[in-house]
């Protein structure tokens, strides 16, 4: 059966409601967070209603069932990413996943292989979300390591002309986004990964904006760590994932300390459990892990290839329609080559906040501002942009509504 976003939409109860005096909801803010299908909402509720107990802890039937559900969710995530079951760590968000890693690089003491010193270098890019920038800035400050970054070209691509000079032999971590949440740019990983591995650095991928939208296989990408958030992947809030190679996780020092992450404890010392347990302190976000598994099952049933193809087509339509409007100034690549279905732009003299407000009055949800990528926004020479981000439940009608909304805003703010 052909992929049909209108059929998909029926799985998402939020589309049954209306916005601002009866308008149809045109949700173009999935880059911030996605909507949830019934199966995800029910998986979480069902866990509470039927199987709720603390995992790994009780010797009773509910605890067994909860453990099965939680560990089953881990297996689902592993399969979705093409990683091993013991390579999946549940966190509360991609933000926590990336912080976990950045702390781990200074938590292990001088004999730990991840320990950074002032002799080392950390490489990021100028298009990072704050969540994949500030943790590394802080690690640099803590450890004395140097922070360096790939620049962004005027057309919104990474400038890799200085690849070998940027990823120096003393580079220990290269952390970058798979797809920019502002530009849509999908970064070319092969050359970066090859160079990083050549110098013995690990590659960390912020996959927040790729895992929801395209097939992502950690083995094929040959990366070392990957982070994404459940809530952008039609999953619940309060759940994120860190995938890491087993061979690396085994030596990765812990970040959060508490119950269930230990092998033994005295008043003065503790010995850590093996991964992934070592990295999951306390009673976990069980219902959210189960909800995330339902989300990935939902996406898998539709097919990530189908979703990708749909978004490529719809993204091309969005770019085309936007460029027909005089005054629209797109940031980021102008074609769909290595690019996702998100468009950030300015509109003449109309401030993004005002445009966003007008669109909202028409039922159209977009995001405005610097999109938590302030250095990038500054580099692009804009104060703020308006961002429309598409997902599996959007269709051409939604894009048409946006275009009409933009024309309406020009009229509204121009006429007055």
């Amino acid at each position: 059966m052909a992929f049909d976003p209108r059929v998909v939409r029926q799985d998402f109860p939020i589309f049954e409601r209306t916005i601002r005096e009866g308008k149809r909801l045109v949700y173009l803010d999935s880059g911030a967070t996605s909507q949830k299908p019934n199966s995800v909402i029910e998986a979480e509720s069902n866990f509470y209603r039927m199987h709720n107990a603390a995992v790994h802890r009780g010797a009773h039937q509910l605890a067994e069932e909860a453990t099965d559900a939680y560990e089953g969710a881990r297996a689902t995530v592993a399969k979705f990413l093409g990683g091993g079951v013991d390579e999946i760590i549940f966190t509360k968000s991609a933000t926590e996943s990336l912080n976990l890693l950045a702390y781990a690089f200074s938590n292990g003491g001088s004999d730990n292989r991840f320990n950074l010193t002032s002799a080392d270098r950390i490489v990021v890019t100028e298009m990072e979300h704050h969540a994949n920038l500030i943790p590394w800035q802080q690690l640099a400050k803590r450890s004395g390591a140097e922070l360096a970054w790939f620049a962004v070209t005027p057309d919104g691509r990474l400038d890799l002309s200085n690849l070998a000079e940027m990823i120096t032999p003393n580079t220990k971590v290269v952390s970058l986004t798979h797809q920019s949440n502002v530009l849509g740019t999908v970064n070319p990983l092969a050359a970066i990964v090859a160079r990083a591995h050549e110098v013995g650095a690990v590659v960390v991928l912020d996959a927040c904006q790729s895992v929801p939208h395209m097939p992502v296989n950690v083995k094929d990408l040959d990366i070392d760590f990957l982070a994404f958030s459940g809530h952008k992947t039609v999953g619940p809030t309060g759940i994120g994932v860190l995938w890491g190679r087993a061979e690396l996780l085994k030596d990765l020092p812990p970040f959060l300390f508490g119950g269930s992450m230990i092998e033994s404890v005295t008043m003065t010392d503790a010995i850590w459990a093996p991964s992934p347990r070592r990295h999951e302190a306390g009673v976990p976000n069980m219902a959210q892990a189960v909800g995330l598994a339902a989300a990935l099952d939902y996406l898998t049933a539709i097919g990530m290839d189908e979703i990708y193809a749909h978004e490529q087509k719809l993204g091309a339509y969005l770019l085309k329609r936007l460029q027909e409007i005089p005054g629209v100034n797109l940031v980021g690549p102008l074609t769909m080559n290595d690019r996702g279905a998100v468009a950030s732009f300015t509109l003449g003299d109309i401030h993004p906040h005002d445009l966003g407000q007008f669109l909202d009055s028409q039922g159209i949800a977009v995001r405005t501002g610097h999109h938590c990528a302030w250095p990038l926004t500054r580099k692009l020479g804009v104060q703020a942009t308006t961002r429309a981000s598409l997902y599996l439940y959007n269709d051409e009608e939604d894009v048409d509504a946006l275009i009409e909304g933009i024309l309406g805003a020009q009229k509204y703010f121009g006429d007055k």
Binding site: H351, T368, F413
Partner: protein
């Protein structure tokens, strides 16, 4: 249309013809405020004459609400005593937090009552207050110098 309650004529007028925009060369205090959620910025200069607001000038980039609001503010507070200006400031802040339940006292707020509609749009309240918070900060700094 609900939107018109936000974008009153007065607001769009101030947005298009901002008052006291352009920083004066002399001042008692200069502050720079930013709205971290959208990046809007404002620089505001204040000069005092004893307990009177002798000059307010500003520059900045931002949405119609933030620009109009600071423009209205500078018209409104200029020449007032600091105490009078405080009254206006408190009145305005209260209006912004009223969630659409107040219309604003136009004897005190004059043109600024046009901002009443903003209080129904929580995401925009910070825009409207940006200039006022900058003014508040600047006066404290200027007074500290007296």
């Amino acid at each position: 249309m609900q939107l018109d309650s936000l974008y009153q004529e007065v607001i769009l007028d101030h947005y298009k013809r901002p008052q006291h925009k352009g920083l004066a060369a002399t001042y008692d205090a200069q502050v720079h405020h930013v709205n971290p959620s959208c990046g809007d910025e404002i620089t505001l200069n204040v000069a005092l004459d004893d307990d009177k607001v002798a000059a307010i000038t500003w520059d900045g980039v931002g949405c119609s609400i933030s620009q109009a609001s600071v423009s209205i503010l500078s018209d409104l507070l200029l020449g007032k005593s600091i105490a009078e200006a405080d009254l206006v400031l408190n009145n305005f802040t209260e209006l912004m937090q009223s969630k659409g339940t107040m219309v604003g006292d136009d004897a005190i707020l004059e043109d600024a009552v046009a901002m009443a509609g903003v209080s129904k749009f929580p995401a925009r309240i910070k825009c409207a207050l940006l200039g006022w918070m900058a003014y508040k900060d600047a006066v404290v700094q200027a007074q500290a110098k007296l």
